[in-house]
């Protein structure tokens, strides 16, 4: 279990994390938030890449200020993965396994398991520099699984992946959800909807919401309307315009509004609606 208590982080005059309080237990957590919300800063602080300036982080009850056991027991996929381009796929896995202080025999065994899990077994002798973007991302996922760490941290894991690769990633994460803490920082609300048990929304360095997907949807309850585009002029002030779509030959627009919109039809909210309500302060 990871407990973040009153965590603050400043870069000069900019506050990146402002008294963040959040707990990550077993399960899959989606970390949502706009650019600059502090998601990556939070993940990097958990991994010890940024020092704890104020507040504390506890991993299984132990403060990370004393020793960062979390980084030693974590698999981490940064936003951009791609390294050691002249080494082979299994060479990179062996490098990272050695870095994680795994014995050589275990490194070999784990490399085979993780490459098989990410469908890279046939490419184990290929140089990293010869991999496509999707394959490289899979290699990044494979290295996070090395040694079966208790905590898995993915920063924008599906960015740039095609639909098949995204589905493969979701299946891998769904397989390991038991007895693991998985934190996925993402902009893609669909991924959170498909994968995550819990959602944490960050805004301007603060945790603006924590709860289940249902609770996030409930934030937008009775605030979501669909309205034909030609009736857009009838909207009351204060509405936030969302997706535009077509249904049965008519163009509609989905809107969020805290005031009743008689011209629209109230519809059930989804996760994106809940997220937008939080980020727009509705």
């Amino acid at each position: 279990m990871i407990e973040v208590k009153g965590l603050k982080k400043r870069f000069g005059i900019k506050t990146a994390l402002d008294a963040v309080e959040v707990t990550f237990d077993s399960g899959i957590y989606g970390l949502l938030g706009p650019n600059g919300a502090g998601k990556t800063t939070l993940l990097r602080t958990l991994l010890g890449l940024y020092p704890i300036q104020s507040g504390d982080v506890f991993y299984d009850g132990k403060s990370l200020r004393k020793s960062n056991d979390l980084a030693q027991n974590a698999g981490y996929l940064p936003q951009r993965f791609g390294m050691f381009y002249e080494l082979t796929v299994q060479g990179v896995m062996a490098y990272i396994g050695t870095m994680k202080k795994m014995p050589m025999a275990q490194v070999r065994q784990e490399t085979e398991r993780c490459l098989a899990r990410t469908n890279l077994s046939e490419l184990k002798d290929r140089k990293v520099g010869a991999l496509s973007g999707g394959m490289l991302r899979r290699l990044g996922i494979a290295q996070t699984l090395l040694g079966d760490p208790d905590v898995l941290i993915f920063d924008e894991p599906t960015a740039g992946l095609d639909p098949e690769e995204r589905m493969r990633f979701k299946n891998i994460v769904a397989d390991i959800r038991r007895d693991h803490t998985v934190i996925i920082s993402t902009h893609i609300v669909d991924d959170v909807d498909a994968l995550c048990d819990q959602v944490v929304v960050m805004m301007a360095g603060k945790v603006a919401f924590t709860g289940t997907r249902q609770q996030l949807k409930a934030v937008a309850e009775k605030k979501v309307y669909e309205i034909p585009v030609e009736k857009q002029a009838l909207l009351s002030p204060g509405a936030f315009l969302g997706n535009r779509f077509e249904r049965e030959g008519t163009d509609y627009i989905r809107i969020l509004s805290t005031v009743p919109q008689p011209a629209g039809v109230l519809v059930p909210p989804n996760i994106e609606d809940g997220y937008l309500c939080i980020t727009k302060g509705m």
Partner: protein
Amino acid sequence: MAARAQLLLRQFRNMGWKYFVPWVLLFGLIPLLTWRYIQSSGLTPDVYDYMRPGVYNDFERYIPMALVWYLVLLFYEFVDNPACELLYAYDGVKKTRLIDLLAVHLHIVLMAALLLFGYQFILPGLWQEFGRLCIILLVYSCTMYGLMYLAKSTLFAAMAVVIYHLLGAFMWSDGALFDLFSEMRIDGTQPPPTNYTPFLLWAAILLGLGVFLNRRYVK
């Protein structure tokens, strides 16, 4: 220790064909230049005295370049690569990369020693200049380490060192300010050891700066 050696071996392997460029430079170009000295002297009896300063100057000019080359190749993954934070997270963020620096440094010192050993057969006294060469390599290693982590770029550090090197080893005349090479010409006299003090002080400061920045490095 064995694990660290395995990591280092893979880091060198990651250089690919580029690893061999300094070997060509040291064991191809430098002997070729020496051969030109021998040819241009017309094989007079004092040929060895004539070529001795030129050969040493070639060592000074090209061996430090090989050091810079290796440092850029090896440290790229830890300094420039956008994914380098992964390596710091797994390896322990407070760990420095001094072992890697030392490995590259010793590697190039051994290459230089091997070259000098070969030259012993034609220029027996050249060994005496090995210490001077090692000081240049030490100053460059420390400067590269500090500048790489300060600028978060191996290229910037390499450019700064190469520009200095080109000025010092190829253009400045003896006695120029900040010239590491000015007291190292072969003129039969040994420079007083204090001449190197500012350079060694600079090296210590840059090394310290590199270690300080390295312990909290995020690209």
